[in-house]
């Protein structure tokens, strides 16, 4: 009994609560990125390698607009719109000619896009990271920390955007088009749904969501040209763990993975905590290769 009590005593309860909150906050940002990625995959069969770069681009556009206008919220909305339009143009120029080809072609093409965008950002903005000032400076006391309210707001806003996406898919006309295309492309086309337009629209929505998460995330750390790769890797892990193309699964997996990494960071160096999510991925591949939150097909 004594050893058990000692063990329980050794677990830092305050740290665990703090890390739970941290994990949920980063998990919501990750869910926002991953749901765009999984939406694009589920409907277009495109693994968007450039998703992290759209996230980064959104953050940079946010930096510029916040610097010019001084308003964070204007920056958030404008950045999502600008990157959304950019994503639509990108889809028309590079991905539309590849419709009907092997999905591997699209992964290569989006990889090319990510290289170009990343190097453009490095060339244009330099290697020094930029910062967006915190839009709200108030904070509350959590044990010995002053925990910024802004982080809680990020999580709520991300949840709101994802909820908005869900309602949009469920009730709007375009959302119904999207779901019909996802179910059966040929049939949807036969029913008069403009499938190429749906594809462009889906890519634009995914890009706008990536950009929004980029701006939301920017105040917590800096903005630099490599930030996309870290997040897109995490988003890939989330999407595989949650089941490719499965929106609900991705959101759950995003929070699950982020919580795992936050708890691991109590005992490990943050750069090594990533390995925990790699292990989660390996275990998922071993035992539930179609994803943790989907019934394994017989």
């Amino acid at each position: 009994m004594g050893t058990v009590a000692n063990f329980l005593h050794a677990i830092p309860l305050d740290l665990i609560i703090i890390q739970t909150i941290n994990g949920v906050v980063t998990g919501m940002i990750l869910a926002l990125i991953a749901s765009g990625l999984t939406l694009i995959f589920g409907i277009m069969d495109v693994v968007n390698f450039a998703h992290g770069e759209l996230f980064m681009l959104g953050a940079y556009v946010g930096v510029i607009i916040v610097a010019v206008t001084g308003s964070f919220w204007l920056g958030l909305i404008a950045s999502a719109l600008i990157v959304g339009v950019f994503g639509a143009a990108l889809q028309i120029v590079t991905l539309r000619p590849l419709i009907g080809r092997d999905p591997l072609n699209t992964i290569l093409a989006t990889f090319g896009i990510s290289l170009v965008l990343q190097n453009y950002a490095l060339w244009q903005f330099g290697p020094v990271s930029r910062k967006i000032p915190d839009p709200m400076s108030s904070s509350f006391t959590l044990f010995y920390l002053q925990y910024p309210w802004y982080r809680i707001v990020i999580a709520l806003l991300s949840a709101a955007i994802i909820g908005g996406l869900y309602l949009f898919l469920k009730y709007s006309k375009f959302g119904i088009w999207i779901r019909a295309t996802a179910q059966d492309r040929v049939m949807a086309q036969a029913m008069g749904i403009p499938v190429p337009l749906v594809y462009t629209g889906v890519f634009a929505i995914g890009s706008a969501m990536a950009a929004a998460s980029g701006v939301l995330f920017a105040p917590t750390t800096g903005v630099d040209h490599t930030m996309g790769l870290d997040w897109v890797l995490k988003a890939f892990i989330v999407v595989v763990v949650g089941g490719m193309g499965n929106l609900g699964g991705s959101i759950l997996a995003a929070i699950f993975i982020s919580l795992l990494e936050s708890y691991a960071a109590i005992w490990l160096d943050p750069s090594q905590a990533v390995i925990v999510s790699f292990v989660a991925l390996i275990l998922t591949l071993l035992f539930r290769p179609t994803g943790l939150f989907v019934a394994t097909p017989k």
């Binding site: 290569l108 093409a109 090319g112 190097n119």
Partner: protein, 333 residues
Amino acid sequence: MTTAPLDKPMQIGKAQLSHTAVFWIGFCVILAVLIVAPLVLPEFWRRFLTESLIWGLLAMSSDLLIGYAGMVSFGHSAFFGLGMYGAAAALTVITPPNLWLAIIFGLVGSGVAALFVAYFSTRLRDIYFAITTLIFSQIFYVIIFTWTEVTGGENGLIFDRPRLSIPFVYNVRFTSTTLHWFVLAVVAGSYLFLRRVTRSPFGMVLQSIRENEPRTLAIGYSVARYKMVAVMLSGLFAGLAGVLYAVQNEFAAPNFVFFLTSGETVIYNVIGGIGTLVGPIVGAGFFQLARELLSRLFGDQFPYLIPLGIVFIAMIIFLPQGILGFARRWLNR
């Protein structure tokens, strides 16, 4: 009427002979040019050519997967990097540094990494394979980057170049010319070996997996086992490229384990032409040359990956066969 059936096999025989003859004459001419090249080129371009050949070997190893088995690997940096660090281990720990031990250590390192990656990622197909290889290569990157006591962390490892030695027979210092010849011999030997592999029954099964995996399984081939062997073979040759790179540059750095190396490997393949084995070498040469020329024209800071990335995207859309795509059937005959 009676002569026709006699003529026909002779003509086929003649056509086969001329194809093989043309192939080997072409092979020897290119080999001869590459042998003579370091004697006439200035030092910088000599090193440049050697390095392009090493990248070509890496790209060729990945072509075995991309072009023949239809599995796009985004994780070849792990095999390349493990080969590099394996060689580094042999060259830093054991004195005097020995070339052959470096190669053995490098192959063991990349072989272990390849076994690990092959075991898990061959459960998945197509894009899932691509994504998991990418994530696995990042595992190795994180380990190498953070395990500073052993790998030197961000700074990497520096060591001396081993001597070119054949025990009891031959033992000299590498010059840039003999190093080029050594690399050329390894790359040419690897090419002949991989060409033999792709034309063997094993290679035929890989190509049938590429064309139709369920049917290959239905015929009775153990697809999973073939895929694992293919990934391991490919990983070993990528590791060999890593060893050569370490020997040439006398350092090992975590940058080379980073995902960008894998990405560039895929670019070499697409530019040069997948499923040709020589195409990726041409692609690597083209890429390195374009990069060098761009940075000479516009300065060192020029982001050469922007124009090269645009060329890459355009090639996927308009010329997915690559530069040597037109010769694909001929080269594999």
